[in-house]
């Protein structure tokens, strides 16, 4: 811990606050969130839906401005999209009018640089997509699409990977497979990863630390260390320690959620 404190964090979020101006008035989405992510660390963010997780992640990526507070990458403020940051979105978000190769070339086209074919081919074979370059997204399964999106995000070697519920749309088995894939790639590249997820299992499987956010306005409610060895085998994942940690986190999220729906409101909603 002390060694980490001395080192500059890879990504530092300082008092991030975001207010959306909506038609029904101002909406405080996240409120004074602070978080340090160390180089090579995987941090998972969990919390009840609508707590501003995505807002926080988009702020980290520079896609969003903050109302107050700041995001620092290697000590430098992030004010817009940054080539050091890769994003993986909810759903694969492939461009349907481009085949797989053209989709993976898309970031390079935008940046005006030459794709590193050797690296991309290596990534493609690692995720089991070699030979699919001429296929269109609609010809690929959900899991394949999301693997392609992962390749696209890693293709230009970002030092930070931000993932916004990347595997939420996949079935449980495919999802576990994707988690193993991310772990495998991380073990090789040690890319810093911040991941939003609705699955506590996924959070514990992948991350070094789990950040629990409170219901709206989103605040950092708690941070849990996940001290299990990697690669995290089925045996490790089925230990009592993992089970206990899962339950603690679940209690924190569900516990905070109960107050959001008073009994009367739920009943009248059910009647209506």
């Amino acid at each position: 811990m002390t060694a980490q404190e001395l080192k500059q964090p890879k990504l530092r979020v300082k008092g991030a606050t975001k207010v959306y101006n909506t038609r029904s008035g101002d909406l405080l989405a996240i409120d004074r969130c602070s978080l340090d992510v160390m180089e090579g660390e995987i941090v998972a963010i969990v919390g009840p839906s609508g707590c501003g997780k995505t807002t926080l992640l988009w702020s980290m990526s520079g896609l969003h401005g903050l109302t107050s507070g700041e995001v620092l990458l290697d000590g430098k403020p992030v004010t817009g999209p940054n080539p050091e940051i890769g994003m993986v979105f909810q759903e694969a978000n492939l461009l349907p009018w481009r085949d797989l190769d053209a989709n993976i070339n898309f970031p390079f086209e935008i940046k005006g640089t030459k794709p590193d074919r050797v690296w991309i081919d290596e990534l493609l074979s690692r995720v089991g997509l070699e030979g699919f370059g001429g296929r269109f997204p609609r010809e690929l399964s959900g899991g394949m699409q999301q693997r392609a999106a992962l390749v696209r995000a890693l293709s230009y070697k970002p030092s930070v990977l931000l993932m916004d519920e990347p595997f939420g749309a996949l079935d449980a088995f495919t999802r576990e497979e994707m988690n193993r894939l991310v772990e495998e790639i991380w073990l090789d590249t040690k890319t810093t990863i911040v991941l939003i997820t609705h699955s506590i299992d996924e959070a514990i499987f992948l991350s070094d630390r789990v950040v629990v956010m409170s219901p709206r306005p989103g605040r950092v409610a708690n941070i849990h260390e996940v001290p299990f060895a990697r690669p995290r085998s089925l045996e490790i994942m089925s230990t009592k320690e993992v089970f206990d940690l899962t339950n603690i986190i679940k209690a924190e999220i569900v516990g905070t959620q109960q107050s959001r729906f008073p009994r009367d409101a739920v009943q009248s909603a059910a009647v209506a």
Binding site: Y20, N21, T22, L27, A29, T54, T55, W58, S61, L63, H64, G65, G80, P81, N82, P83, I85, G86, M87, F89, Q90, E91, N93, L95, P96, W97, F106, P107, E109, I110, K111, F136, P137, R138
Partner: protein
């Protein structure tokens, strides 16, 4: 105001494809392809029965030629008179190409620009609707007064008829914004122009093809109509002159040429759409 400050959300675009309608070019796609020789035979047989039956019935009831010419007479007229009709076909095509070209280019540019500025769109849309719904043929006598009996009034009418049609369809396409895809491009540092060319435009392409198809067919109708109003050349002019001379086989030959032209235009844009915008289907 800009996308930067909107709440991040992802539009499920799955439903968007089905909202299109005829414009989806269903007339060609919904039909299953021809599968066997038997089917080909059946299709030919039906055509023979319809055309031959018409021929037979017209003979049987001795229907005078000026009421309805026999299919054989139309065919003969088409072959013998084609050299006389061909230059008129050329004139009509010139009016169509030039008028539609101008209309489509202006329509596409307007659609692309206007959809970037929601406020301007609100102000301009009623006028575009007015242009779409007003039959431009009504303006032809006025245009002839001003520009004479040459190409000009016809080209203007064609441009006015097809341009707004292209524009409203293309604008629908450009408005179909997928925030997720735009965010993706922005995350790579894409400029507004890059986002337009690499995300918005390809996304609008299916609707652009629909607009071009509908616009060009509207253009053809307007060109022929304008030719019927005045001026000494063009297929529309042939229609009025053949009918006034009661040359019904020639008249129907011209109608047949127009039908084929319309179908060719439809097929052209259908194939273009299939080649460049089939990802949506």
């Amino acid at each position: 105001m800009s996308e930067t400050d909107a709440i991040p959300e992802f539009k499920k675009s799955a439903g968007a494809a089905s909202e299109v309608g005829i414009t989806n070019m269903s007339a060609l796609t919904s039909g299953p392809g021809i599968k066997s020789m038997g089917e080909v035979l059946a299709i030919v047989l039906v055509a023979v029965v319809i055309i031959g039956g018409t021929e037979l019935l017209l003979n049987l009831f001795a229907v005078p030629q000026y009421v309805l010419p026999k299919p054989s007479e139309i065919a003969v007229a088409l072959f013998t008179d084609f050299p006389f009709i061909a230059p008129h076909l050329g004139h009509t095509l010139v009016e169509l190409f030039v008028g539609f070209g101008i209309g489509a280019v202006v329509g596409l540019i307007l659609a692309a620009v206007i959809t970037q500025f929601p406020f301007a769109e609100k102000i301009i849309t009623p006028y575009i609707l007015l242009l779409v719904t007003t039959p431009m043929l009504a303006l032809v006598p006025l245009l002839i007064l001003r520009f004479g009996f040459g190409y000009e009034p016809r080209i203007i009418a064609v441009a006015l008829a097809s341009g707004p049609m292209v524009m409203i369809n293309a604008a629908t396409g450009f408005r179909r914004v997928d925030r997720g895809k735009i965010a993706l491009a922005r995350s790579y540092g894409a400029s507004t122009l890059q986002i337009f060319w690499k995300v918005r435009a390809p996304m609008a392409l299916p609707m652009i093809f629909v607009g071009l198809m509908v616009g060009s067919i509207f253009g053809l109708l307007t060109a022929v109509g304008a030719e019927m109003v005045g001026g000494g050349f063009g297929l529309g002019n042939r229609l009025t002159s053949y009918s006034s001379m009661i040359q019904m086989p020639q008249f129907f030959a011209v109608v047949l040429i127009l039908s084929i032209l319309g179908i060719l235009i439809y097929v052209l844009f259908f194939l273009l759409g299939k080649k460049y915008a089939s990802w949506e289907a």
